[in-house]
C-alpha cells in the first residue's frame, strides 16, 4: 500500500483537521479573534472543494477506478461517492454553524478560537465515520465526533443550564459509546474480522443457533449505541434537556450535523457489514422506528419552549430516517439509503434555518425561547417571520418545500419494500406534527407581541452571518423543493457503489 495513495483517500478529513489546528494555532498568537471564523470556514470550504474535485474525478474515472472504491490503510478507509456526498453535507452544516454562532458568541464574550477548533474536530470525526470501512476506524471517528460535542454543549458553562446539558450529554453519550464498543467487539467475535467486507464474509459463514443468538446480542448492542446518538426512543431522554441547555448554535449543529453523521455512518456499517444478516436486526429496528415516530411527535405537542419542541421534533425525524434503513434492509434496494441522504440534506437546511431564526431573535432582544414570546413576530421582525414560516412548513412536509420531497422519497422507499403499514404510521404521525409546527406560524402572525419584547438598539456585533445563513437555508428549502431531481440523482449516485459491497 502506497502511503501517498492512502492519504488521498482521507484528504477531505485531513484538510478539515489541519484547519482545526490552524484555528487553534492562530488563536494562540493573534489578538483579532474575528479572523478565526474566516479561517475555520476556509478550512471547511477547502475540504468540501477537495471532496467535489474527487467526486468529479471518480465520476469520470480520472485517477480512480469508477467501479471499485479506492481504499487505503489496509482497507480501513474508502474513497467513494457516498463518503464524498456526506463530506460536502457536513462541511455545509459546519459553515452554516459558524455563521450562526459568531455573533452569538461575541455577544456572550465567549472565546471563539476553541469553539471553532472543536467544531472542526467534530466535523473531522463525522467525515471519519462515513469514510471508515473498518469498525476500529469507525469507533475512533465516532469518539472524535462525540468528545468535542460534549464540550461544545457546555461551552457557556458559567450558565448553569449549559453546564448541566454538558454533563447529561457526557454521561449518556459515554454510556452509549461503551455499549456500542461492546457491540462492535461482539461483531468482531462473531466474524473474526474488523473490516466491513470481512465482517460480511465472516457472518455469512456463521451457522448454528448459538452463533445466531450471539449475533442478535451484538446487533442489539450496536443498535442501542446508534439509538442513543440519533436520540431514538427509548434512548431519547437526554435529547430535550441537552438541546434546551446547550448554546443554540450548538443545538442546531447537534440536531443536524451529529445526527446526519450518525445516520450516514451507521447506515454504511449496517448495509456494508450486516446487510445480509438483515433478518436478525429487522425487528429491533422496526420497533425503534415506530416508537420514535410516535413518542417524538406526541411529546412535541405540549411543548411551550421552542428549543424543546424542536428537540422532540428532531426525535420524530430520527424515526422517519430510520424507515430508510428498514426499507433498504427489507427490499435490498438502495433507494432507502438514497432517501436517507436526501432527507439528511433537507433536514439540515430546515433545522439549521429554524434554529437560526431563534438565534437571530435572541441576538436582537430578550428571549427565553418560549412560544408566547414569538407572538407578533410578523410585525416586529417580518423577514425572520416569513423565513421561520417557510422552515415550519417544510418541517411539516408540505409542498413545494424540500421537506415534502424528503418524506416523499423515504415513504416511497418504504412502500416499495412492501411495508405499507409503516408508511401509513409515518404519514399519520407527520400530520400530527402539523399541529405543533403550524402553531408557531399561527403565533407569529395572529398573536399579539407580549409585554417587554421591544427590540434592543442595533447590537454592536454584526447580524450579517445569521441573516445570510438563514436566508440561504430558506432559499435552499424552496429551490430544492421546486427542483428535487438533481439532488436525488446525486444521492442515488452516491449509494450505488456501497450498496451490496
Amino acid at each position: 500500500m502506497n502511503a501517498g495513495n492512502a492519504v488521498v483517500v482521507i484528504l477531505p478529513g485531513v484538510v478539515v483537521a489541519v484547519g482545526a489546528f490552524v484555528v487553534f494555532l492562530v488563536d494562540l498568537f493573534v489578538a483579532r479573534k474575528a479572523v478565526l471564523a474566516w479561517i475555520a470556514a476556509a478550512g471547511l470550504i477547502t475540504g468540501a472543494a477537495v471532496a467535489v474535485g474527487q467526486w468529479i474525478s471518480v465520476s469520470n474515472g480520472l485517477h480512480f477506478n469508477a467501479r471499485k472504491p479506492q481504499t487505503g490503510f489496509a482497507g480501513m478507509v474508502s474513497l467513494d461517492k457516498y463518503a464524498l456526498f456526506c463530506v460536502v453535507l457536513f462541511a455545509g452544516i459546519g459553515v452554516a454553524t459558524i455563521m450562526l454562532s459568531d455573533a452569538y458568541l461575541a455577544r456572550r464574550k465567549a472565546a471563539r478560537g476553541e469553539f471553532y477548533g472543536l467544531l472542526l474536530l467534530v466535523i473531522t470525526g463525522m467525515i471519519g465515520m462515513v469514510v471508515s470501512t473498518d469498525v476500529v476506524a469507525f469507533f475512533v471517528s465516532f469518539e472524535l465526533m462525540s468528545l468535542p460535542t460534549y464540550v461544545l454543549a457546555g461551552y457557556l458553562w458559567r450558565d448553569e443550564r449549559s453546564g448541566e446539558a454538558s454533563i447529561k450529554y457526557f454521561v449518556t453519550g459515554a454510556f452509549s459509546s461503551a455499549i456500542l464498543a461492546f457491540g462492535l467487539a461482539l461483531v468482531y467475535g462473531a466474524s473474526g474480522q474488523t473490516t466491513y467486507s470481512g465482517i460480511a464474509a465472516g457472518l455469512a459463514k456463521l451457522s448454528g443457533l448459538d452463533a445466531r443468538g450471539f449475533l442478535v446480542v451484538a446487533f442489539v448492542l450496536v443498535v442501542t449505541g446508534f439509538g442513543f446518538k440519533i436520540s431514538a426512543v427509548p434512548f431519547h431522554n437526554w435529547a430535550p434537556d441537552v438541546y434546551e441547555g446547550a448554546p443554540t448554535p450548538v443545538t442546531a449543529f447537534m440536531a443536524t450535523g451529529v445526527k446526519a453523521a450518525a445516520f450516514a455512518g451507521f447506515a454504511r456499517l449496517f448495509v456494508a457489514a450486516a446487510g445480509l444478516q438483515w433478518q436478525t436486526w429487522a425487528h429491533t429496528m422496526t420497533i425503534l422506528a415506530v416508537l420514535t415516530m410516535v413518542v417524538g411527535n406526541v411529546l412535541a405537542l405540549p411543548q411551550r419552549n421552542l428549543k424543546r419542541m424542536l428537540a422532540y421534533s428532531s426525535i420524530a425525524h430520527a424515526g422517519y430516517l430510520t424507515l430508510g434503513l428498514i426499507a433498504a434492509g427489507t427490499s435490498g434496494k438502495p433507494l432507502g439509503i438514497a432517501a436517507i441522504l436526501f432527507y439528511l440534506f433537507a433536514y439540515a437546511l430546515m433545522n439549521l434555518g429554524a434554529f437560526g431564526v431563534l438565534i437571530w431573535i435572541r441576538n436582537r432582544r430578550k428571549f427565553a425561547y418560549t412560544l408566547g414570546e414569538i407572538g407578533g413576530l410578523a410585525r416586529t421582525m417580518p423577514w425572520a417571520a416569513i423565513l421561520m414560516a417557510v422552515f415550519m412548513v417544510s418541517l411539516t412536509g408540505i409542498p413545494p418545500t424540500i421537506g415534502f420531497w424528503g418524506k416523499f422519497y423515504l415513504f416511497t422507499a418504504v412502500v416499495q419494500a412492501n411495508l405499507t403499514w409503516l408508511a401509513i404510521v409515518a404519514v399519520i404521525m407527520s400530520s400530527v406534527s402539523a399541529y405543533y409546527y403550524l402553531r408557531v406560524v399561527w403565533y407569529m402572525y395572529f398573536r399579539e407581541a407580549p409585554q417587554g419584547a421591544e427590540m434592543e438598539a442595533e447590537p454592536k456585533s454584526s447580524q450579517l452571518g445569521v441573516t445570510v445563513a438563514v436566508s440561504l437555508a430558506a432559499a435552499g428549502v424552496l429551490v430544492v423543493g421546486l427542483f428535487p431531481e438533481p439532488l436525488l440523482k446525486a444521492a442515488e449516485g452516491a449509494v450505488r457503489l456501497i450498496f451490496g459491497g
Binding site: 475512533v140 462492535l184 461482539l186 468482531y188 473474526g192 474488523t194
Partner: protein, 102 residues
C-alpha cells in the same frame, strides 16, 4: 465450552456491573469510574477474542489499544466537565442537576 466463553462471561459480568453502576449511582465521579469499567470489559472481550477465536485476525488487540486511549480522553473530557459544573453548583450528585426538565 472453551476458554473464550469463560473470558467473555467475565467481560459480560464486568460490563453489566459497570452499566448497573452508571444507571444507579448518583455521584458523577463514580459514574465515570463505572464507564471505565464498561470500557475495560470491552477490552477484555476484544483481547480474549483475538487470542482464542479460531481464524480471528489480530485486529482485536489493536482495537483495545485504541479503546484504552479513547477511554483516557473520555475521562479527561468528562472530569473537566464535572469540575466546571462543580465550580457552579458545588455538587457532583446527578440528581441535583435538575435545572432542565419538562
Amino acid at each position: 465450552m472453551n476458554a473464550l466463553y469463560w473470558w467473555l462471561t467475565l467481560a459480560v459480568l464486568l460490563f453489566c456491573i459497570g452499566a448497573f453502576g452508571v444507571l444507579v449511582r448518583r455521584n458523577v465521579i463514580v459514574v465515570v469510574m463505572c464507564l471505565e469499567l464498561m470500557l475495560n470489559a470491552v477490552n477484555i472481550a476484544l483481547v480474549a477474542i483475538s487470542n482464542f477465536r479460531a481464524g480471528a485476525l489480530g485486529a482485536g488487540t489493536l482495537f483495545s489499544l485504541f479503546i484504552i486511549t479513547l477511554a483516557a480522553a473520555e475521562v479527561t473530557v468528562g472530569l473537566a466537565i464535572v469540575i466546571a459544573n462543580y465550580r457552579n453548583r458545588r455538587t457532583v450528585q446527578t440528581d441535583q442537576y435538575d435545572e432542565l426538565k419538562g
